[in-house]
Amino acid sequence: MFSRIFVEKEVYQTPRVQNILKRFKNVPVQRIDDLELIFNRVKKPYLQKRDQLQLFLGQKKGQLVKETPAAYGLSGEPHYYFIHSYNCIYECQYCYLQGYFNSPDIVLFLNYEDIAEEIIRITNEHTSAGLKRVWFHSGEYSDSLALSHITGELPYLHKIFKELPEATLELRTKSANIKELLELAPLPNFITSFSLSTQRHSKEYDLKTAPLKTRIKIISQLANKGHPIGLHLDPIIYSDTFIEDTNELIDLLFSSVSPDQINYISLGVVRFTKDVYHQVQQNYPESSLLASEFSKSFDQKIRYPKPMRLWMLHKVKSMLIEAGMQEKKIYLCMEEDDDQG
């Protein structure tokens, strides 16, 4: 999986690092002073992740937990994300990580204690102000489960959130790697959320991820064990068979999982920053994604025209409601269902 592993000298001897290194006995390891001096310091081609993916192990410094942008999660409650990792082993053609970092290499931050301390501090701050729930999302810059079998992070987070019922953790993923998760007892505030696209788009654009049917099987397995589940139908991509494909996705989903087993579903239409779109053009020049009806929007982002994206969102939402999902459990991600103008 990795062609080389870089480890910060300060953490090299820690059990966490040694456990990870044991899994990659044949991979060359290089000790470095500070990963910030190497990672992201040069523009490394994104697709080198296919044959020269490197792993960095170190500690996150600076701000460990950040507030999410508006319209990120269920509204009315504070949302934060924490930074435990950079980059992803998967290769989704629309992924914003293409234009976010200057390197596709994976970084794992192993100072979980510092992250946990910050999560506890923020939760206490909000609860003492009278709020009943604070959200923490993982997977903003990586997939939350894809490497969970090597990081050992899940049992640690589970322990923290078990003792912090006012805080809810969301693990965002496209992975089918739930072995670690299945060993943990379900907690109401320990939610695994899966990103799903239609079968057609999943095959075409979500390279190297678990196929849609596998993801649904995994969702069912977790839900039946009592683990809370969130879903992200994001990014929704338009095609001439949009309605049929979405119906197929909803049928597949609800033939394995009951709508009652799903805590929430977020809906988001595909969008790109200018830089990410440029990267998609460079990395996947033949992708049919580039033949979509995008235009440069008011905020310079590349997306469908507003009437189109709102129509798509309304359509998917009404199809979900028709299939038995409660309306209050569906929210729109990064899109104001507004009355602007």
């Binding site: 060359p28 310091r41 081609p45 009806e293 009437p307 189109m308 969102l313 602007q340």
Partner: protein
């Protein structure tokens, strides 16, 4: 990050510039190919040699060591050759920084990075078509300390490729680089690098010469190579509908670009769409011809046909908006919508010169439903 034009797309008669940092690296190849010194009257070109093979000129440039030297000397030669753009090949010895490259082996270079100062890298990179990454070092890499930092970025270090890429970038010349690993300073620190390299000069000299022999055979004799100028084949590839060369069409430069962009996008989306495009466009061209109209009159419509095939939702939205606005248009008012379609608003412009015009406008406004318009713009109505 800069990506180079691929060598396969180059003209097999285009000149070649071989770049070496040192004479010792070039000697065997220069002899084998019977290179002659560049004519004396060009003074500053004392480090350039030239050979000819069939219709192709091959230049060999001794750049001297260091990024600045390489960039400066190559820029001068490229200026001299302009407007001919050569393919540039860099051969040279280099240091192996990690155990994933072997000593005395030749590697092609993939991504090129550069070290600015001892602990600082240049952010940008150049991407070539090769197998291993390389970093052009600020100084000679002679010991483990220097190796340790650079090896985090690439397994090979040289002293000139970055400068060669910078110069080549100015004229968009394709670059290839092949590096022979002369020493492994992370294993054997040495200050006697010149002596060690000298001792190996016969080996790497033969390696470069043999590689170039094979390379030229592939490059010159490969019948699949095409030229950089647009051939008939390429025109057909870019414009399979042949509308650009059609006698009854006319495209301005901007329209040509739009049209070719549409062809590309439609091909990506669904190749069957090209057939629909062709049919509709040719019908339009024929109708226009029958009416005796000028070919350029219908070019915007041809482009619109392509755009509608590419963006069916937008087409339906546009048609629906036109339909909604028709009571106002019929009343003589001009209706314009937000071009980005982000806001559910429109601008109405009417020229009132008579009470009758006002009456017509009132009727038009009565027949226009803002609620329906808003529902459409906010995605609540089917398009």
């Amino acid at each position: 990050m800069n990506t180079w034009p691929h060598t396969q797309t180059q003209d097999p008669t285009m000149p070649i510039v071989l770049c070496f940092a040192h004479r010792a690296e070039a000697r065997t190849l220069l002899r084998a190919w019977d290179f002659k010194a560049f004519p004396d009257d060009l003074g500053p070109w004392a480090d350039v040699f030239v050979a000819k093979r069939q219709d192709q000129k091959i230049y060999a440039l001794i750049t001297g060591e260091g990024v600045g030297q390489a960039q400066g000397k190559l820029s001068l030669l490229l200026g001299q050759l302009w407007p001919n753009v050569p393919v540039i090949i860099n051969y040279g010895v280099a240091a192996g920084l990690r155990d994933d490259v072997e000593q005395k082996k030749l590697y092609s270079v993939k991504t090129v990075y550069a070290q600015k100062h001892p602990n600082e890298m240049s952010f940008n990179s150049f991407q070539l078509e090769g197998e291993r990454d390389l970093v052009s070092a600020a100084d000679r890499v002679l010991d483990r300390n220097a190796c340790e930092y650079l090896s985090a970025f690439a397994p090979i270090a040289d002293r000139e490729l970055w400068g060669i890429c910078l110069a080549a970038q100015q004229v968009k010349a394709p670059v290839q680089a092949y590096k022979w690993i002369s020493d492994l300073p992370y294993k054997h620190e040495t200050q006697e690098i010149c002596q060690r390299v000298k001792e190996q000069s016969e080996e790497f000299g033969h390696s470069f010469s043999a590689h170039f022999q094979t390379w030229t055979q592939q490059f010159l004799n490969n019948p699949t190579t095409t030229t950089t100028t647009t051939t008939q084949d390429q025109r057909e590839e870019n414009d399979p509908l042949g509308l650009l060369d059609h006698l009854d069409t006319h495209f301005s430069t901007t329209q040509k670009r739009q049209y070719l962009g549409l062809i590309k996008a439609l091909t990506r989306k669904d190749e069957n769409l090209l057939g629909h495009f062709e049919k509709q466009a040719l019908t339009l061209v024929q109708q226009n011809k029958n009416l005796g109209q000028r070919p350029k009159n219908i070019t915007p419509e041809i482009i619109q046909i392509g755009q509608d095939l590419l963006s069916p939702f937008e087409k339906r939205l546009r048609q629906k908006l036109e339909q909604m606005a028709s009571p106002l248009s019929k009343a003589g008012a001009q209706v314009s919508f937000d071009p980005l379609k982000e806001k559910a608003q429109f601008t109405l412009k009417a020229n009132i010169q008579h009470p009758r015009h006002l009456e017509q406008l009132k009727i038009g406004l009565d027949n226009f439903s803002y609620e329906n318009f808003e529902a459409l713009m906010k995605g609540r109505d089917d398009v």
